[in-house]
């Protein structure tokens, strides 16, 4: 197939009408936002590095992409994993040509979260295939499928918008298995004539899946949750918890600094510091240690797992650390009551990121967990107030 340079005759003809506002010009342009990249002259200067040219098809030129990752792609992955600009990490939805696909080439469907798109691209190294990107508002396949944005309607819209029936001779689509949460295969077939096959869970299994004649082994169908996968999710557990930490710190320093003569810096610091340290340790235990050590912590409940790790961390820090906890028995009671509960609460948040927890289970955990957390916090506050009253009556 002829490899074209970025601006071709066809794309020049289309003019600059679609520049800039790619999403709103859907109807007036090719109906495929990915293709608008080609028809926009300014895109030539700002086009992403992974677009290498254009492939002519009976339905117009389709942007050609490479399977290779650049340093920018890698850096983008790191930034999106840590939450730096997670919500804006997108590619234009529509059809792309990986390599030099033809009428018989496979069509792989993915989300417009750039990382999902990149992982698929990389998995297809050496293949010639069509990649159909759905507009999932920058969310990955599984989460978007759960919300319905990676869904039947959007898929049907993209199939017709890209004029796939004119581009390929066959009527097969390979949708990632986890997209099945939102895509109703039977309905897609009825509405477009395209038959959906749900491919492997992980894009990296695609070459083996294709080699095996589009059949999956049990390993390709099931979703594990190995330590590395759990670990890469922890920054997005730590970040939200740390965003709330200044509030926690302010309350702690206020409580300890509050004296009959006003709010004093020294007692705030000496009394508050051990609590701040316990707070940090609790966040770390709930948002990092519990997810990473998940299968080895006893129990099935995330709240229980978190509480165990919280208790162990508090014990450990209390034993190792030279900093005395102020407030005598009351202060110690607060430390052992509040911080494991805090770790438990943070650990429970991880249910939202796992590959195996369901809504009914989380509801059950919350039914017992939330009253326990509220009670633990309330008792802690009462104990701290009681301790203040005790101190002040001595003074």
């Amino acid at each position: 197939m002829q490899k074209l340079t970025f601006i071709t005759k066809e794309t020049k003809k289309a003019g600059g009408a679609c520049c800039g506002t790619v999403t709103t010009t859907d109807n007036t342009c090719s109906g495929d936002t990915a293709r608008n990249i080609l028809s926009c002259p300014s895109a030539n200067r700002t086009a992403p590095r992974w677009i290498t040219g254009a492939v002519p098809t009976p339905a117009g030129a389709v942007p050609q992409i490479t399977a290779e990752w650049t340093v920018e792609d890698r850096w983008g992955m790191i930034k999106s994993r840590t939450g730096a600009y997670r919500m804006r990490y997108t590619v234009a939805p529509g059809l792309y040509a990986l390599g030099e696909p033809g009428k018989d080439s496979d069509i792989f469907v993915t989300a417009n979260y750039k990382l999902s798109f990149d992982i698929l691209r990389r998995a297809l190294t050496g293949h010639h295939a069509w990649v159909l990107v759905l507009d999932t508002k920058g969310i990955n396949v599984w989460c978007a499928a759960g919300k319905g944005t990676f869904g039947t309607d959007e898929l049907v819209k993209r199939i017709t918008g890209a004029r796939l029936d004119e581009i390929v001779g066959h009527r097969r689509l390979i949708v990632p298995q986890l997209g099945a949460v939102g895509v109703k295969a039977g309905e897609v077939h009825k509405r477009t004539g395209f038959r959906v096959s749900f491919g492997p869970v992980e894009a990296r299994d695609i070459p083996a899946y294709v080699r095996a004649g589009y059949s999956k082994t049990r390993e390709m169908t099931t979703m594990g949750f190995p330590m590395f996968d759990r670990m890469v999710l922890t920054p997005m557990e730590i970040n939200p918890a740390m965003k709330k930490f200044p509030w926690f710190a302010a309350v702690v320093l206020l409580i300890f600094g509050l004296q009959p003569s006003g709010i004093l810096f020294r007692p705030a610091w000496t009394g508050g510091l051990p609590f701040l340290l316990f707070g940090l340790v609790s966040v770390f235990a709930g948002a990092f240690v519990t997810p990473v050590l998940l299968p080895w912590i006893p129990g099935r409940s995330f709240a229980v797992k978190g509480w165990i790790m919280g208790m162990l961390s508090v014990l450990l820090v209390h034993q190792l650390d030279g900093m005395p906890v102020q407030g005598g028995a009351f202060g110690l009671a607060v430390v052992y009551l509040f911080f494991p509960a805090m770790t438990s609460y943070i650990a429970l948040q991880f249910t939202g990121s796992t590959t195996f927890t369901g809504m009914s289970g989380v509801k059950k955990e919350l039914k017992y967990g939330v009253p326990a957390y509220i009670t633990a916090t309330a008792i802690s506050v009462v104990l701290l107030i009681a301790q203040k009253i005790r101190e002040w009556s001595v003074l």
Binding site: G83, R86, E237, T351, G352, G361
Partner: protein
Amino acid sequence: MKYLANVATLQYAPEKCTGCGRCAEVCPHGVFAMQEKRAVVTDRDQCMECGACALNCEYGAIAVNSGVGCAAALINSMVTGGPPICGCDSTPGGNCC
């Protein structure tokens, strides 16, 4: 790794099964397996209620109460009384799903 036992709301009516195999194709935890051209439930406790099987069963043999298994979303809905929604849409940069 298994989550809590006996909580999954998965319901399966084997008499409606035509043996198309979609459920086994889409389940990410191998809850469904094909035996003698019929789907069978192998381990209910593995079900994470994602709903892919029920959505793709054209014969109405499967029902599951699916939804976001996200503690933050469920707590928010308890507080506000609204439907559980993950942080993605409302809070940019928030944790997703």
